[in-house]
């Protein structure tokens, strides 16, 4: 039968002195007024505090956290932009339609350019309705959401300006409509944090506005501008699609 030996309690100072190597440098028995446990606790506390301060001041931890924040924010942005390439293609199609609405009448003998003017009365509302439907569908699908009010505000401003300025009876009315659309798209891209596309659209729109002032036959500028905007919007949409994959 196994016998149980009584447990012996050994004072910490004598336990240390019995260790191999003795108690050199740690002769606690020479300090009779100090409790070795309190020394150990004190030492541990100061070490812990030192370590805590060191860790709190360690630049790698805050840098890590900031890097993580950047990574997550960018992932969230990408998820938000998951379907945003579609409206780009819708408006590219609208701009391409504007180009077609100029080319076809110019090939006909009677040259019915009224088709070109009236195109926007159909093209712009159709583009807006398609964009709204795509936006609603995309909102339902996405696991993240953002307030839609900036889009409504910018969209309303574009509609108001393009229709009121485009309706004016002067030859550059259609060019003005396209310039308004260009600036509006640039603002949309800025809201969606696409500074490069926004800058390209803004420069094109402003350049078109200045060219309209310099060129004699402003109506000739219209198809060129429609084509340029269509190409920029297709490129932006494709780039977005590529990035969101």
């Amino acid at each position: 039968m196994a016998s149980t030996a009584p447990v012996q309690t050994v004072p910490a100072s004598s336990a240390i002195s019995q260790l191999p190597g003795g108690n050199a440098g740690w002769n606690l028995s020479r300090e009779p007024h100090r409790d070795p446990r309190s020394i150990r606790v004190g030492l541990l506390t100061s070490l812990t505090l030192y370590y805590k301060v060191l860790c709190m001041s360690n630049p790698t931890e805050p840098q890590d956290l900031l890097a993580q924040v950047d990574r997550l924010r960018s992932a969230t942005r990408q998820t938000l932009m998951l379907d945003s390439w579609l409206p780009f293609l819708v408006w590219a199609a609208v701009c391409f339609g504007a180009l077609i609405s100029y080319v076809i009448p110019s090939l006909l003998p009677s040259r019915p350019y009224w088709v070109t003017s009236y195109y926007w009365l159909v093209g712009a509302p159709a583009g807006m309705v398609a964009t709204i439907i795509l936006g609603i569908r995309s909102d339902r699908r996405r696991p993240v959401r953002r307030g839609n009010w900036p889009y409504w505000v910018v969209g309303s401003v574009i509609a108001a300006f393009s229709f009121s300025l485009g309706a004016l009876p002067h030859p550059e009315a259609l060019v003005v409509t396209l310039v308004v659309f260009g600036v509006g798209f640039a603002v949309f891209c800025l809201i969606e944090r696409r500074p490069v596309v926004s800058a390209v659209l803004l420069i094109t729109a402003v350049g078109a506005g200045l060219a309209a002032l310099a060129v004699d036959d402003r109506f000739e500028l219209y198809p060129v501008l429609s084509g340029v905007f269509a190409v920029i919007l297709v490129a932006a949409g494709m780039w977005d699609r590529f990035r969101s994959r």
Partner: protein, 102 residues
């Protein structure tokens, strides 16, 4: 001048909670499953962290049905947004201070 560590709020300083707030500030609202998958957490773990943030008034949680599917949407409050901005400022100050002292 006080050390930046004094301004560190333990509620936000936690890695997961900081991540949650970072994502919610970027989007207006995020789905529970999106947060869970992005942060690679379990349902229970994320719920616990969201509870802490909600108790601190940094997020609001709303559960609703969309069609037949129940969805939980989490939003950052105004307090949450400013708390995150303040915390990021503190972290940058900490890096600058330690980096400048080296």
């Amino acid at each position: 001048m006080t050390h930046p560590t004094v301004q560190i709020d333990d509620v936000i300083h936690q890695r997961v909670r900081l991540g949650i707030l970072a994502m919610l500030v970027e989007a207006d609202a995020a789905d529970f499953t999106f947060l869970r998958d992005s942060l690679e957490l379990t349902d229970g773990n994320l719920s616990r962290h969201l509870q802490v943030l909600e108790d601190a008034g940094l997020v609001t949680i709303k559960k609703r049905f969309e069609g037949k599917k129940p969805r939980t949407w989490v939003r950052a409050t105004k307090k949450g947004r400013s708390a995150l901005a303040g915390h990021l400022r503190t972290l940058k100050a900490l890096i600058d201070q330690v980096g400048g002292g080296q």
